[in-house]
């Protein structure tokens, strides 16, 4: 009955006070320190608020029939358009204190931003892009622009960023949580007892993986909640974020157990896990803002932690992320591959023993 084994292995992991301290307090402490130390390195999110914008439109432009709709949608989103027939965009922005100006000629437009109002300019640019896309798709009647902030603009502050990525980072080091169990099994040769009972390699693996994932998930869940209440971290889409973290912990736990199976040493497995996660984080942007990362995109894309971090940070900042599905699928595939290697290796050893 593997459920009793799972239950008791879970108790062993969860009763380890050091583990709890590492997984609950660790991410909060580190993210609080780093968020405070490096807040200036991250562009803080700033709401554009309501603002005035100007536009000019050339006679005969194909966009004339859409201007009423544009003004209506803009107004719904706090942008108040006024038409200006004379003057250059720069002069008009300066003279009337506008957040930006749109010059429409024929079937194209140019957005002018005020040097002092970058966020308003970006917001105006986003509105125009979204509006044009709606025109192209023929859907101008019911335009709803629910997200006003351009995708390329960082909309997380350092608290959100570090609060999130250190949950992901600790998740990838989940093997530490199994250290007590695995060390004791090896030191006291408990595995021999399991072998005498003819417990299969798959059941042995699951009896470690399931409690490991569960205990790390619970610990980091508590840590995340504390992060929200103590530091004010925003997770955006909490359900999707939780799913991404869960699958990543699954992959990380499978990875750690694979390292232990291959090395048969807790010290070696932990050291390798740290080295790999640090490398993944360095290349994939865990230790710097991914927006500023200069590593090649192809190399970053190889790192599962990059997909996870990017998805979580974008979910926090924008409420959606194109990386979310990729992060889940990538981590899921890795979890399967690592599991197959671990169980396969254990089974080969078992047959040769």
């Amino acid at each position: 009955m593997i459920r009793y084994l799972i239950k008791n292995n879970f108790k062993i992991m969860f009763r380890n006070g050091v583990n709890l301290l590492i997984y609950i307090i660790g991410p909060i402490l580190i993210s609080a320190v780093l968020a405070s130390a490096f807040s200036a390195l991250l562009e803080s999110y700033e709401s554009a608020g309501d603002f005035k914008a100007g536009y000019s439109i050339e006679e005969g432009s194909v966009l004339i029939p859409y201007m009423d709709a544009l003004k209506e949608v803009a107004q719904d989103n706090g942008i108040y358009f006024t038409e200006y027939e004379t003057g250059t965009p720069k002069e008009i922005i300066e003279e009337y204190g506008l957040g930006g100006f749109v010059e429409i000629k024929g079937d194209s437009y140019t957005v002018y931003e005020s040097a002092d109002e970058k966020v308003k300019g970006s917001t105006l640019e986003y509105l125009m892009t979204a509006f044009f896309n709606a025109i192209i798709s023929g859907d101008t009647k019911d335009i709803k622009l629910s997200v006003m902030y351009p995708d390329h603009a960082p909309s997380v502050d350092s608290t959100d960023y570090y609060g999130i990525i250190y949950i992901a980072y600790f998740g990838w080091l989940s093997i530490i949580c199994a250290a007590g169990l695995l060390s004791n099994e090896k030191k006291n040769r408990i595995t021999e007892r399991l072998c005498v009972s003819d417990l299969s390699s798959l059941k042995t693996y699951l009896s470690r993986l399931i409690p490991l994932v569960t205990s790390v998930l619970i610990s980091l869940g508590i840590s995340s909640l504390l992060n929200v209440f103590l530091l004010g971290v925003h997770w955006g889409n909490a359900a999707l974020s939780a799913l991404i973290v869960f699958v990543s912990i699954l992959a990380a736990s499978a990875f750690g157990l694979m390292l232990f199976e291959l090395t048969q040493s807790m010290v070696a497995a932990t050291f390798i896990a740290f080295a790999v996660v640090w490398t993944m984080g360095f290349i994939g942007g865990s230790f710097e803002t991914y927006m500023l990362s200069s590593h090649p995109e192809a190399l970053k894309n190889l790192m599962p932690i990059y997909h996870e971090n990017r998805a979580l940070v974008e979910l926090s900042g924008m409420g959606h992320s194109d990386y979310a599905v990729g992060a889940i699928v990538y981590a899921g595939v890795l979890a399967v591959i690592f599991s197959v290697i671990t169980v396969g290796s254990a089974e080969i050893k078992r047959r040769l023993r």
Binding site: M1, Y4, L5, N188, E192, R193, V196, S197, D198
Partner: protein
């Protein structure tokens, strides 16, 4: 090659030409043992004699290079799924979890044999009662003394009611009271029909509980029989010699683990 055959009772375990080599070193050499139902079979030998390797092969922890182990009349290796529940193994090391309570340790290991629910609960109580740890059932194993840990180690191996119990030096490092308790329990198990294989370096223990003893050296059985029969191999007047003296006479006084 020597065959050790005990009288006419049903054979519960039999090794056939059991051989294990590590490189050029033959650790167990064509070993043939027959253990009959109801016996307490003692296996003695100096360090490096091949006792542990033999035990590990019997328990299916090591694959023999040659030969096989028959358990309950069947090839153990080929019928492991069916037969493993009929074997109980008490290792020399304390194979228990310190961060689990006594009852949780017994639950963990007893459940490996498919026992669950109320049956499992009653087996846990029964096992803890048997080793005298019922009152400490809710205490963590890490808080136990050496003797209590040894007893818990035994409790973890008997909950599934095995036909054959293998004790690998179960009394190492404990006080005389705990040792006496364990030996009495082994005798009690045997009276209840459990067959026992027992290894130890303590000759007086082996003499006290084993119905048949084999002395192993250099991977082979060099002598076997009852305590009296072994003594007679060395002297006529068995009252003037101890089993330890017999052992030293047969295996020599030279240190083995230099």
């Amino acid at each position: 090659m020597e065959n050790i055959n005990a009288n006419d009772k049903e054979i519960i375990l039999k090794t056939k030409d059991l051989t294990k080599k590590y490189g050029n070193n033959v650790v167990v050499d064509n070993l043939n043992i027959e253990i009959r139902k109801g016996e307490v079979f003692g296996l003695l030998g100096p360090n490096g004699a091949g006792k542990s390797t033999t035990m590990n092969m019997i328990c299916n922890l090591i694959k023999p290079d040659l030969g096989n182990v028959e358990f309950m009349g069947k090839d153990f290796r080929k019928n492991k799924k069916e037969l493993s529940a009929r074997l109980g193994y008490i290792p020399q090391h304390l194979a228990i979890h310190g961060n689990l309570k006594a009852w949780e340790n017994v639950e963990l290991f007893t459940s490996l044999y498919g026992i669950k629910g109320n049956e499992l609960k009653s087996r846990i109580d029964e096992s803890l009662e048997y080793v005298g740890l019922m009152e400490r059932r809710n205490d963590y194993a890490k808080t136990f003394s050496g003797g209590m840990k040894r007893r818990l180690n035994i409790a973890c191996a008997i909950g599934h009611h095995p036909d054959l119990l293998i004790f690998d030096e179960p009394t190492v490092g404990i006080d005389p009271q705990s040792r006496n308790f364990i030996l009495e329990k082994i005798k009690e198990s045997n009276k209840n029909g459990t067959t026992v294989i027992y290894t130890s370096h303590y000759m007086e223990e082996v003499e006290a509980i084993c119905t048949r003893i084999a002395i192993m050296d250099n991977g082979k059985i060099i002598a076997s029989g009852t305590s009296e029969e072994l003594k007679k191999l060395v002297v006529e007047d068995t009252s003037s010699i101890t089993l330890e003296e017999v052992f030293l006479t047969l295996t020599g006084k030279k240190l083995r683990d230099l």
